[in-house]
Structures are given as C-alpha cells and as structure tokens.
Symmetry: C2
Subunit: 223 residues, 2 copies
C-alpha cells in the first residue's frame, strides 16, 4: 500500500490557473487535484490513466475510481465547497478543461443525456467495486478488475493492452497489500489466466477469468 502523509507535488491546478478548453499535461504520478481544491471546470481525460483516491489519517490510500481516455472526472464539486478526494495521474496525462455548455456538440438535451449516462455508468462501476471489496477473494478481485479494465481500455477486443498500474496501485484499488497482490498474480500466471509484464497485460483465458469472478459486462454499458 502506498503510504504518504504529504502529497509529493503541490496542486498544479493552483499554479497553472484554470483556462477553459485548454489542454493540460501532467507527468506520471503528479497530483492533479488535492482534496479541498475547488476546480473551475470539468475535466475530460484525453490521454493516459488517472485515479481518484482518499488518504486516511494513518497514510493509507484507497483508490476510489479510475479514469481512462474519454472519461470525465467526478463533478461533485459543483454542489460542494471543494472536492472530497485527490486526483492523480497514473501515467503521463493530458486533460481537457470543459464547461457544461461545451461538453458536447448538439443540443442541450443531448448534452445532458450524455452527461447523465456517464454519471450512471460511473455509479455502476463504483457499485461493482463495492461488491469486489466486500465479497470477493483476492483471486476473484483481481480477475474482476482485469475483466473490467480490458472492457474499458480496449472494449474486450484485444487480449494484450497497456496496463500502467503497479502492484501498489492494484493493492490500493483492491483493498489488499502489494505483497499479496504479487502472490495472487503469480497464482494467476500459474493458472494460465494472464501475463503481466512491463506494463502490458495479456488476457490468456478470458472465459475462465469471467467465470472465476462472475463477471457480467452489463454494468459498463448504458445502451
């Protein structure tokens, strides 16, 4: 588990200021926002992976969401004085600043529909994570996460894809320690379910992986 008490970077948003429609770049592991910041626009991931996480008093970290290209950051700050969690770049990251009105071409109803659908999707993902943390074994947790991320990253089409999460990241997503992640990954390799090396994940047996954890991709689509 990643344990830090002080963010290792100041909030770049504070330094850079906010500029509508600007594309901003961040290095891997940069802090995009700290809990308590008040952004002035919405963010869409253009390239790279990002995460939201909560830090506990004892320095423990729980990752509460992942953002892949096309995803939008949680807009909860619109109705709050500030954001509740930190956002970090997992890879070199580019974000695009948006207001509600330029979220999408098309008329207002379209924009809202799209926005609403994405909100519903991210709630469903959180719900699945809740099930993962509450009721699944280490092996099942990783299997389910890999199934989800393959769908989200490449739509399930490609068996091999870029996978930037470290074992520490996986631990903080799955509510485990990195030592146990390591051992569980070896177990999955021995079962010929996956290969994971050099930030590349290969799904060797998608069927078996899905059965192992009872993965049903329905929650990822909003039709």
């Amino acid at each position: 588990m990643l344990v830090i008490n002080e963010p290792r970077f100041p909030s770049p948003l504070k330094r850079q200021g906010y500029e509508k429609n600007k594309v901003q770049g961040f290095p891997a592991r940069a802090v995009v926002m700290n809990a308590g910041d008040k952004p002035e626009c919405l963010y869409r991931v253009v390239e790279g992976w990002a995460a939201t996480c909560r830090f506990l008093d004892d320095g423990k970290r729980q990752v509460t969401g992942l953002y892949l290209p096309g995803d939008h950051f949680d807009p909860g700050w619109i109705v709050r004085p500030s954001v509740l969690q930190s956002s970090i770049a997992l890879t070199p990251l580019t974000l695009r600043c948006f207001t509600f009105s330029d979220l999408r071409e098309g008329d207002r109803a379209d924009r809202e529909g799209h926005w609403w659908a994405e909100t519903v999707r991210s709630m469903a993902i959180q719900t699945e994570w809740l099930v993962n943390l509450g009721k699944r074994s280490a092996l099942e947790k990783l299997a389910h996460l890999f199934c989800e991320l393959q769908m989200r990253a490449v739509g399930g089409d490609e068996a091999v894809f870029d996978f930037p999460l470290t074992q520490v990241d996986l631990a903080d997503i799955c509510g485990m320690t990195s030592v146990h992640i390591n051992r569980t990954l070896q177990q999955m390799r021995n079962l010929r379910l996956i290969e994971l090396n050099h930030r590349q994940l290969e799904i060797l047996d998608r069927k078996a992986l899905e059965q192992l954890c009872g993965f049903d991709p329905a929650y990822l689509s909003t039709v």
Copy 2:
C-alpha cells in the same frame, strides 16, 4: 451473511403495476425490485429503510446502498434496459412514485439542481463505503457506519434512534460475517462506545467513535 438463491418474494412492482404519484407499501424484507426489472417511475422513500443489494452466484449478498426517508432510489434504469440490482425493504416501507417533472415544486432548474445534488451525495456515500471496505478494520468499519447513519437518520442530534439493521444486514454492508459483527459489537459495548438492543442504537461517545474511524461528515452535505 444472508445467503439465498431465490428471492423470497416475487417483485411486487410487477403485480401492482406502476401508478404515478401513488404511495405504495411493502412489508419488511419484501423485494421492491429485482435485478432485471424495468420500473416506470422514480421512487422516493416516504417511511422506513430500504437497501439495494447485489446477489452473487454463490448466494452471497452485498448491500450497496441504504435509503432512508427522503432518499431516492438509484435512477440508473433511465439509461439502461433494466436495473442492475435488487431493492429490498428493511422495515415496513412506503414509497412514492415520481416522474422527473413532479420531483419537486419550483422551476426546472431548481428541480434539476436538487436532483443533481442528491446524485452527488449518493456517489460520495458510495465512495466512503469503498474506503470503509478497502482500508478499515472491523471496529473502524462499524464505527464509521454508525457515525454516517446517525447523521443521515437524525442529523447527529439524537444519541438514541431507531436502527432496523440486523447483524446479518450489517455484515452484508461491511463485507464481514455476522459472527464477526456480533463480536465487534460486543467490543464496542465494552469500550462504552455504543449500545444496540431491540433495534435501537445509542451512541454513547460520539467523539471517540469519530476519532476511532476518522469520520468527517463533509461528504454528507452538499451545502
């Protein structure tokens, strides 16, 4: 943990049909909706407690959300063919059927603002649950849940309040077994933190409880 493979009640919604603005009553432990149902309106809890839960293939249950009077059920089905999870009554329950347009008096912007604020709040609660399941010990999990529910049920004003959750329910919320819930409750009683008897929860030492789990109520308000 509650383990059932077949819901003990058919979906009452199917039987009763949907009627706008109607108030519907359910007995304790009734199934309000099953995963796969397609409701035709939004639901607001008028009286009683309800929960959403996911059942796994092996019969395990994870509770993914609690609904107290004033809360609205997850409207994800609006953009999906059907709901993903079951909703159940934890107590005798009355629900009110709503369309978006009669959600609230006032103009359209007001209604949407209110709706949006509640969505954001329920996402924040889910995020806290994620932290709870991922990073906290049994004692901390229960402490945090009790802090949250006191706020939601009586706004933190009253030390004693109705608390209809059984130890099995608590187990399925916290990702534990009911045996361990029982032992953890006894530990909390010995520490003079709470009393819990006959569906009444008494918070004996709110301060200590909050410190124990690092509870910060900010996530529950949308200002």
